[in-house]
Every structure is written in structure tokens, then in C-alpha cells.
Symmetry: D3
Subunit: 136 residues, 6 copies
């Protein structure tokens, strides 16, 4: 059984490498490399798997799952600059792929502690593109 | 090849255990344990898998699939109280997880009889949470 | 300038008149008159109008508007039975139209006190129907 | 007859006044005043009104309307910082209200030149809030 | 009080004038003039206005409204070719504007007969464009 | 890591077999066999899988993926008749299942050439039905 919680965050970011020129960044990352930042309404889907408890009918109490996601992730990235202000994004190119990996790394152990297993982090950047990460 | 049919039902429910006090139910299930019920616009996605017929280009005729879902499920739960009025929910805590399992159990054999295999029952309770069940 | 805040509530209800038989209620209200209740994920859009403040660029601070809507409405109706538990619905048939009127009556004066004018209450009951009330 | 074209832009912004301290900005604008910016997937609906042409069945050719919106607005604000890089936002607090007014001012004359009348600029900032501006 | 019913229809159409060459049609109507047709999932919103009945809490019984829309409109245009098969589109260029006007003309009198007043026909052709017609 | 690009196309089609009578086609395919065509706003989701590049943070540059999808698919089917005008649909019944298979066959090799692996083609025909194809 899989259960999914949706959460949202609005953040600024820039796709670029410091060791590349603005021209090279523009060539590879297009307008996403704009030096003055741009931003998105990101939508995150956190899917966990587990057995359904005979006692509660739940895989996991969504209140607990939502609490973990908000404490560990949303409070740190909502209305923030993903390149400058988020500890778990430090040293990473702020692609949607890397956001998903970083969030997986932040949540995996905490979700295990409440008795479930993290299955998928899905990050929707725009209505036309999203990524799904299942760990490795 | 996987093909999915979406159907909807609006129903009342309450999350609670009869053998627990109202206080215990409130503690575990939160406002979902309100004794006077609350309700949802549930969205259900039924996914079946199968081979594509050379004759029709179909895995399954969606008219047949929709017919089964409506006869076996929607007619019994739409505009109903899931705790009080639905035979296949009797004796189960009415969590989204248990709704998905019960619907799987109702549909699996019927879908096999029209030549396809039930793959997934997805139940969306609110825009922020849903479950997916793939059988066991 | 018009600004709109969306809020959501999940509630049970029944369409019926106490002075009618179950048969008459069924005839007029259809399956919405089910005596054991059913429910919806209601979506509410509260639109206010006003001038844009030179000081803040706002018609109204959405934090204030959201605060009023939550205190006056959401806290009273979310995860509740609209027929049995909501003071401002007492004595009214719980149609979408009457929900909109009752919410208008609850909010109008409070919104005036924070310097704006209530313009429209829109209540979406299902993806196929909604009402809009502009006062009278 | 009213016809509406939807366009989207992803941009960074910050709500603040230069003549206020960070504390005052935080108090009034909340986390939207974050000095390192945040951002949104803005959705814009441009509604024009006019008579339906007997010759074409159109109020306006949407290709022309979309062309004007893209040249005058989207090219200037998509993947940009609304505070720093957009000529028509200079000197304005970057609230959703002011974005709508500024876009109205940019488009009104151009739309008149292709034979229609601008009726409404609707800007959706998040799924929970939007503004509508009808000129003054 | 305004109440809106959503209905959907999937249809083929072509934008063109018989008295123009294919080149002229292509120039004015673009790829929408493709001689072999193309199609859409049209979404229609029918809004009526009226007083709320003290007896039922309804402006109008949505079952009646939906019945009229299906009999008069959906049965005639769903899974049809709007240029070739729909009586009320005969002699009209099949633009979204003209579809809205024709549907208004079909529904206005019938809705008056069930005690309400037609207020708006909204036709959504794609996620990026729609028209709204309020009669004349 | 999986990354998905959404693209859309509006097209006419008809479900039928030339070697069957209109009656037989109507019996099997229902109103989808209308001889004068009907149409849809199809939504396509192309999912590719691959490793995240240390250099760019990307599985694949979405600009490249979108370019391939548009050149190989969208340019050939948008605003077209899927039965009459699309080379890769020739000789196939134009079911949603067969559209997904044909698009898979068109894209698989091209996506491999830009360093990723095609994982899934999802085609949404209406809000109530979609197919997913993972190759064979």
C-alpha cells in the first residue's frame, strides 16, 4: 500500500555553475540561468509504502508525515532562495532532479522512524515538467 | 499496456473504532473522528493491464470497465455513508487505505472475467492526499 | 481591484425538509436527500474589492483575510455535519446556495472592518457545479 | 462577447519597501519580504471584449492577442526578477495587484489597435490567491 | 444568485469559409483550417441566475438544468463534427465565439421555462483560451 | 531518476475498422466510430529515465527532449486527422493504446541518442481515461 502527501513551496532559484561563464551557463541552462534569479510554485509529492495497520487502518498517520515534511523541508525552503539559503542544497546545482535527491536524503531516515518506508519524491516544477526519484 | 478509468463518488464517513472512547478516537484520528460525520468528493482511478487486441486496438472496452465499476462500486457508495450503508466496508475502519483494499476485492474477479487484470486502485481523498493499492 | 482567497472544507450534509416525507425529499432532492448523509470537499472563493494601498500595494493583507475566513467559517464547518453542527446554518436547507448566503452574512461585516468590501462568495460543490453570490 | 487568453511566466520577486527596515517589512509582508527573493509560476488571463466579426467569427484573432502579450509582457518578465529587471515594474511594490495594473497599462493601447477592448487582467499567484483588475 | 453547471463534449471542427481558397483560410485561421478536421475536448459552463426558493433552497434544480443541456446540446454535438452534423451550427463559422452564441440561442427559452434566467455561456476550447457570452 | 515532459495536441479521429460495417463499428466502438470524426485535446506525458549528470544536474536537457517530441510527434499530429494524415498511424486502429505504442516507436531511438532511456508514454484522452505504455 502506498500513501502520498502533497505539499507546496514557492522559491527562487538559478541553474548555473560558478566555474562557468555567464555565456556558457546561458548556453546550457537557457533562461533558467538568469543571474537575477527566477522562481516557481513547486509542488512536492512524498509517497511512502507500508502495511496497513489493523489497529488504525493507516499505513502511517498523515499528520505525522505532514509534520516531518514541514519541519524538515517546507520550513527551510518555502519563500526562500534555493541556491543561497537552503542548507541541504549547498554545493548542488539547483536542478529539479537535485532538489528531489536532496529531499529524499533529508526525509528517508525520519520516515523510517515513524514506521514506514519512503518510496518516491516527485517534484513538479511547472505544469509541463516534473521528476520522480525512488532512491538508489 | 495499462489503461485507467476515473470515476467519482461523494460520501460521508468517520474514522473511529467503536471500542475506543471519543477522546481516544480524537487523539488518533483527529477531526476525522467527528461523531456527526464529515465527507469528501472521492476520486477513484481503476487501472487494468493487458495486451492490446489486434481486432479492436483496445486492452479492454472502457464501456465494459466503466459498467463494472458503476454496478459494483459507484451505485453502492455514491451519496452514501461509508460507515453505515456500504456492504463491502462493514467491519472495516473507513480509512482511504481500507476503501482501496475493499474496492480491489470487489473488482478483481469481475475484471478478470472481461479479459484484463486489475493493476491498481488509486483513491484521492483530498487534493493533498491519496493512496495506491496494487493487491498483495 | 478584486482579490480572491481560496479556502477548502470537507463536510457532511443532507438536502431535505423535516416537514416532508422521505419519499417527497427523494423526489425533489434525489440522492442528495440520503438520510444517512453524504459529503463533499467544498472549495470556497472569497472575493473582496477595494483600492490598492499606495503604502503596501495591497487591497487587503491576505493574511488578515485568511484569518477572518478561518476563524469565522472554516473552524466551524471543516470536518463537520453542516445540518447538525454549524450555528449559522441552523434552520436553513443545506443547499450550496444557502451555504453561500450564510457565509456572506458571516463575513460581510468583518471584512468591512479591515477596510475592504466583500464582493463574491463562490462555493464549488463538485467539479460540475458551483454557485456565486454577490449579496442583495 | 469576451475572449480570454492564458499565458504563464515564472519569476522571482520580493515584497518590500526600501524605506522600511527588514523588521518592518517582515511584519507587514511576512515571508514574502525575504531579502534573498522567492518566486512563483504566475498564471495570467487576459480578457478582451468586442463584437464577433461576421467575416471570421472572431472577436479577435488569438494569434494576434497572444503575439502582443508575448512581445509586451512575457518576453520581459518570464524567468526574470520582477523587482530588478522589469521596466514597467520600476518604482512599484511588486504585489500581485500592482503586477496586474502594470500589465493592464502595457496592453491596453496595443489591444485597442487590433480592434478590441481590454476587459480584465487576472493574475494567479498561487492556487489559493489571485487578483482581477478591470481598469479604472 | 448564480449557479453554474459544467458539461463536456468532444467534437471535430474546422475553421474556414467556403468562399475562400485554402490558402486564404490558412492565412487567417492558421492550422485550425486543416481541411481534414481536428478536434477538442470542449468544456461548457452554463450559468443561470435567479432567486433562491424558500421551499427548496435552490435557484433551479440542477437535475432539470442538466437535463435541458443534455437534450438540447450535448446529445447533438458530443462525438460529432461541428461543421457537418449540428443543426444549430449550420451556416456559421465554427469559432468558439459562434459555438457560444448558438448554444445561448438554443438554451435561453428552455431555461426561462423552468423559472430561471440564462446568464452566461462559457466555452473552454483549450487550457489556454475560452470565451464568455452574456447574450445581447 | 525519472523526468517527464508534458506536451499537448488537438486532433480528430475515428475508431473503426474498414472491414466492418458501420453497424458493427457502432456496436463495438460506440459513438467513437462516428463516420464524420470527432476529436480531443490529447495530453501526452513522455517519461525518460537516466542518471543525473554531475556536470549539469540533469538527466537530460528538457530543451532537447521537448525538441525531439515536437519534431517527431507534435508537428505531425497537432491539428491533424489521426486516421488520414499521420504517417506513423497508418494501418493502425486509432485507439489511445495504439497512439501510445506508435509514439513510443517514434521516440525510443531518438531519446537513446541524446543519452537517456524512454520509460513511459502516457496519453490522456479525456479527464476520465488515459493509457500508459512502457514498451515491450
Amino acid at each position: 500500500m502506498f500513501i502520498t502527501r502533497r505539499e507546496r513551496f514557492n522559491a527562487a532559484h538559478r541553474l548555473f555553475r560558478e566555474d562557468w561563464s555567464d555565456e556558457k551557463n546561458l548556453e546550457v541552462f537557457g533562461k533558467c540561468s538568469n543571474p537575477n534569479w527566477h522562481g516557481h510554485n513547486y509542488i512536492m509529492f512524498v509517497t511512502v509504502k507500508g502495511k496497513v495497520s489493523k489497529e488504525t487502518g493507516f499505513v502511517i498517520n498523515l499528520k505525522d508525515l505532514s509534520g516531518i515534511i514541514n519541519t524538515r523541508i517546507i520550513d527551510k525552503i518555502d519563500h526562500k532562495n534555493l541556491n543561497l539559503e537552503v542548507d541541504f542544497m549547498k554545493g548542488r546545482i539547483v536542478s529539479t532532479e537535485n532538489i528531489a535527491i536532496a529531499i529524499w536524503d533529508e526525509l528517508e531516515e525520519n520516515i523510517r522512524q515513524i514506521g514506514a518506508e519512503l518510496h518516491c519524491i516527485k517534484i513538479v516544477e511547472t505544469e509541463n515538467n516534473f521528476v520522480e526519484y525512488y532512491g538508489n
